[in-house]
């Protein structure tokens, strides 16, 4: 038994990589469709958007780059679909320079899918440097911060921004963030000062750091990681990339739990025999 345990503890790590790859690949090829129950924090974001009257100003800040695409892109797709379905006036932007192209792609793709017109139903403001200073400036004068949209159209002439002067005119803002600047920046320099409602979506690795803001009510909801994105897709009753990845996510988690348990078992077996020898 001891030799087996020792062998297992010294196993080539590439076997573990192989097992994880299999645990990911098989559920993607043969989906099981495990149930997804939306959590209260995801429901809060969904219900807030659902409760907004038609024509409300909604700001989606896509503060991530391609490195976080698998988690945050499906969230952006679902939220944009929801906002367009509710006929909200959509403002898209990013605080991450490396995310500009991807943010532009997701907003124009979903707008086209939902039959929305640029300038009339939505605007993509793009990126402007300054992160926290950008938010503060938007609170003072949104049109001066973004005199032109991403495509070079003067924002003061866009019908979608009619009556919008600053962040105080925004009914709801959601930051989908992979780090900083992101949800915290939007809270500290935006919501706390200009008093609009704020929700968040973030990568799973960032979620524990954002929970204190949720606990104190500083943000009204949080979509955490691929799981959160899948929950939002469930609420929207429109399955997408996140839902299809949840079986694989469960399988890999199960595999990792098994590996941790096995590792601990083998470790204790070898340690007990060592102690007996002494």
């Amino acid at each position: 038994m001891r030799s087996f345990a020792e062998k297992m503890l010294a196993i080539d790590r590439r076997w573990i990589f192989g097992l994880i790859a299999l645990a990911t690949l098989l559920p993607l090829l043969y989906p099981v469709g495990l149930p997804i129950r939306p959590s209260p924090q995801v429901k809060n974001v969904y219900e807030y958007i659902e409760g907004l009257p038609e024509g409300s100003v909604f700001l989606l800040s896509m503060d991530f780059d391609p490195a976080s695409k698998p988690e945050l892109y499906p969230m952006a797709v679902s939220i944009l679909r929801h906002a367009f379905k509710k006929n909200l006036r959509m403002m898209g932007m990013t605080l991450w320079v490396t995310g500009t192209g991807m943010a532009e792609k997701v907003i124009s793709d979903v707008a086209q899918e939902m039959g929305k017109q640029r300038g009339t139903d939505y605007v993509f403001l793009g990126f402007t440097p300054g992160s926290s200073a950008v938010i503060l400036n938007m609170g003072q004068d949104l049109l001066a911060t973004f005199p032109k949209d991403h495509y070079g159209m003067p924002t003061s002439e866009l019908p979608v921004l009619k009556g919008v002067r600053s962040l105080r005119d925004v009914q709801y803002a959601v930051s989908l963030a992979a780090g900083s600047p992101g949800i915290e920046t939007w809270y500290v320099y935006g919501k706390d000062k200009y008093k609009f409602e704020l929700g968040g979506g973030c990568t799973a690795v960032a979620a524990p750091g954002i929970y204190p803001l949720l606990q104190t009510g500083q943000i009204n909801g949080l979509i955490g990681g691929l799981r959160g994105a899948a929950e939002y897709e469930t609420l929207l009753e429109r399955k997408g990339k996140a839902t299809s990845g949840m079986d694989a996510q469960s399988a890999t988690h199960f595999m990792i739990i098994l590996l941790i348990l096995a590792c601990n078992l083998f470790y204790f077996v070898t340690r007990r025999k060592d102690t007996r020898r002494r």
Partner: protein
């Protein structure tokens, strides 16, 4: 054609990067260096366009906002750090940045991270209303938060020796910290697995005939490449070992 080519590039680079799981190799190094170069190039172009052109040049030339010259000058003064004789000039820019930054950040941080967080921690531990005394799950959460905050603070309180009751409180604080680290690690695993799922999902998508079986063809080529590289490396080692 654009999507087809994009698929081949995406698959190739993904497989190059994942080839590191076998061992460090030239494919991985190529993709790594390409990533650094491309991301830096993209960032420079976007910053040039968004900052230099959109926020500086155009407002000055088209809208006559000539006072932006002051901001540009302050920015240029930062570069004097590289010229030892006039490096002192950069202090003006730094003084501006530090002064402006502190003025903006300090009140906002105190409000958001201290006052609001303290307010969220110091909630009523029980409620006495029309229905009488009430202690439910919400109140239990409040107690947990309070105990967690206080005991963790005790753990990080180094001015007195951890003995007796303080030692007990600090020990409870350690348990809270451990649970927090465990939750953080769990979420990290979830995040990393999500990234893997995203890449494998794309690899599966690009393995179809619509994309010229990009995943299958490139996987075979990379495996063959790795075998050739491994063989060449062994031969090179043998040559060195020979007297």
């Amino acid at each position: 054609m654009e999507g087809f080519l994009g698929a081949w590039v995406a698959v190739g680079l993904t497989l190059f990067i994942y080839s590191f799981l076998y061992k460090d190799n030239p494919f991985f190094k190529l993709a790594e260096h390409l990533y650094v170069g491309v991301s830096m190039g993209y960032t420079i172009v976007r910053i040039y366009y968004d900052t230099m052109v959109k926020s500086l040049y155009q407002p000055m030339v088209s809208e006559g906002k000539w006072w932006l010259v002051i901001a540009a000058l302050l920015g240029l003064l930062m570069l004097t750090r590289f010229i030892p004789k006039i490096t002192w000039l950069s202090r003006w820019s730094f003084a501006f940045v530090v002064g402006f930054g502190s003025g903006v950040v300090i009140p906002r941080i105190i409000s958001s991270y201290i006052l609001q967080q303290v307010q969220g921690t110091l909630l009523p531990l029980a409620s006495v209303g029309e229905g009488g005394f009430r202690f439910g799950l919400a109140q239990l959460n409040t107690v947990l938060i309070l105990v967690g905050v206080v005991t963790v603070l005790f753990y990080f309180f180094f001015s007195i020796e951890h003995r007796g009751a303080i030692r007990g409180a600090a020990r409870v604080g350690i348990y809270f910290l451990m649970i927090s680290f465990g939750a953080g690690f769990g979420y990290t695993v979830m995040a990393r697995m999500s990234l893997l799922i995203g890449r494998i999902d794309d690899l599966l998508l690009y393995s179809s005939s619509d994309y010229g079986y990009a995943t299958i063809v490139l996987s075979i080529l990379i495996i063959l490449g790795l075998l050739y590289w491994e063989r060449s490396s062994r031969k090179a080692v043998k040559k060195v070992d020979m007297p």
